[in-house]
């Protein structure tokens, strides 16, 4: 996450065909973390996020970002 430039890089892909998506973050982008309103600086490297974006002539523009909680577990 580059908070100054309001951009982020997201790892995505299918199987081992991985892709790095670079996105701008719309000033009006709604960001939520653990169900609460958050800021871009609250997003940390390695966090799983879900993004809604639109494609603009300048590239992809994030409209909404929410962090996704990963369930733990275990009991062997």
């Amino acid at each position: 996450v580059d908070t100054k430039a309001r951009t982020l890089e997201v790892m995505t892909g299918v199987g081992h065909a991985l892709r790095l998506e670079r996105m701008k973050v719309d000033p009006a982008c709604e960001i939520s973390h653990a169900g609460k309103k958050a800021a871009l600086r609250d997003l940390k490297r390695g966090q799983v996020i879900r993004i809604q974006y639109r494609t603009t002539p300048e590239g992809k523009m994030a409209q909404a970002i929410e962090t996704v909680e990963i369930p733990g577990g275990g009991g062997k």
Binding site: G15, P71, G74
Partner: protein, 402 residues
């Protein structure tokens, strides 16, 4: 005088006749065990048709004119997964590279440099444009992992094992104190991983869809772009076939072929082999190589609520510094998914090249592969090393039956 047989039947009481008939019907309804490369029992005629048509796609050989490359590892699925039939293991070895950044710790799959799969072949057009014979290796990589070609028999069943089953086997903090601390890997979107030597890939469909692009340079509706050459755009004119290079139908059929491949039936065990099977459990191999998993509910009846004798827990385990190579997702360089042992004998019986075992093929025999286990498996390995020669032979005979 009536013939003897006719007379005998004629004297059978009515109830015995009914019992005999029932027995015959049961035998007729008992499906034959699938041979290697056959589909699962219990598929519908439509699913069998998809399987058969999918085999054609799996065996289809691509050329640059039909979409191959510009970077690739192989020109057909069945070029690598080939021995002794399509879907079996192969002698090809590929290269994966990533960077493990200890601050975090965080794994960078080096996508911006062409990682994590560094393709080993190029089309003539790409060679002419860039003068390279393979994708450049990223200098930022901290790990270099060779990967052998596994068989894919029974993978549809592994795909149908519920996440909850895998999570229930996990013990990330070794709470039970047995020295084994399996944990799950997760894809970048948070889904639980299970395919690939580092268990990064959550679903068989993802694995198959991704493989077309990453292994053959074939774009599809699922992966519609060719990616990069070491992070640089593909030079204009070297990939003339418009995207996507295969249809959704071809993708679906290939997936159906892999999904419906039956697991290899284990060989019948001798008395020694049965003793080896017990030893396998006694020395603790079964803690990670969990003999049976059960699939959950599934829209394909042949995959629903079935036992799969896979000998894996689909979890990551620390295998020690000697085997460590790359990180991937949450997996550290030393962590590998427990390799399913179903079909193990096929790698020993491989028709081309030399047998190779372990993720990178460094072990020429099953015995050597066991001896190279480290980390969490060191205690079991030591117990293996301490076995009498007869017990060790019995255990290896069991492993060769899988």
């Amino acid at each position: 005088m009536q013939p003897r047989t006719e007379k005998a039947f004629g004297t059978l009481p009515a109830t015995a006749g009914v019992l005999l008939l029932s027995g015959l019907l049961l035998l007729a309804g008992c499906p034959k065990e699938p041979k290697l490369g056959d589909p699962l029992n219990g598929l519908t005629p439509e699913q069998k048709d998809q399987f058969n048509r999918g085999r054609v796609e799996f065996e289809r050989v691509f050329t640059p004119e039909t979409g191959l490359g510009p970077l690739f590892n192989s020109d057909a699925c069945a070029e690598c997964h080939e021995s002794p039939v399509s879907g079996g293991p192969g002698d090809e070895v590929e290269l994966h590279m990533t960077a493990f950044l200890p601050d975090g710790p965080f794994c960078d799959p080096l996508v911006q440099k062409g990682g994590p799969v560094i393709q080993q072949q190029v089309t003539p057009a790409l060679k002419a444009a860039l003068g390279i014979d393979s994708e450049p290796e990223p200098p930022e990589a901290t790990g270099r992992g060779l990967r052998t070609t596994p068989d894919v028999f029974g993978f549809g069943l592994l795909d149908a094992v519920p996440d909850e089953t895998i999570l229930a086997l996990a013990d990330p903090d070794d709470a039970n104190g047995d020295g084994i601390s399996g944990r799950v890997n997760r894809f970048f979107d948070g889904r639980l991983g299970r395919f690939g030597r580092k268990a990064l890939v959550p679903a068989l469909r993802d694995f198959n869809n991704g493989a077309f692009q990453i292994e053959q340079g074939i774009t599809s509706p699922a992966v519609p772009d060719e990616g990069t050459v070491g992070g640089q755009p593909i030079p204009p004119g070297v990939d003339p076939v418009p995207e996507p290079e295969i249809t959704q139908e071809a993708l679906d059929l290939t997936d159906a072929f892999v999904r419906f491949l039956a697991p290899p039936a284990p060989k019948k065990l001798s008395k020694e082999g049965k003793r080896g099977e017990k030893t396998f459990s006694q020395i603790g191999c079964n803690t990670c190589h969990v003999p049976k998993l059960k699939t959950g509910n599934h829209p394909v009846k042949a995959l629903a609520n079935k036992e799969v004798v896979a000998y894996t827990d689909l979890l990551l385990h620390d295998m020690g510094a000697e085997l460590a190579d790359i990180c991937l997702g949450l997996a550290t360089p030393a962590e590998f998914r427990t390799e399913p042992l179903m079909g193990l004998r096929l790698s020993e019986e491989i028709e081309e090249g030399e047998p190779r075992f372990l993720h990178d093929g460094r072990a020429p025999t099953i015995e050597e592969a066991v001896r190279l286990h480290g980390g969490e498996s060191a205690a079991s390995r030591d117990r293996f090393n301490a076995l009498s020669e007869a017990d060790r032979k019995a255990l290896l005979e069991f492993l060769r039956s899988l």
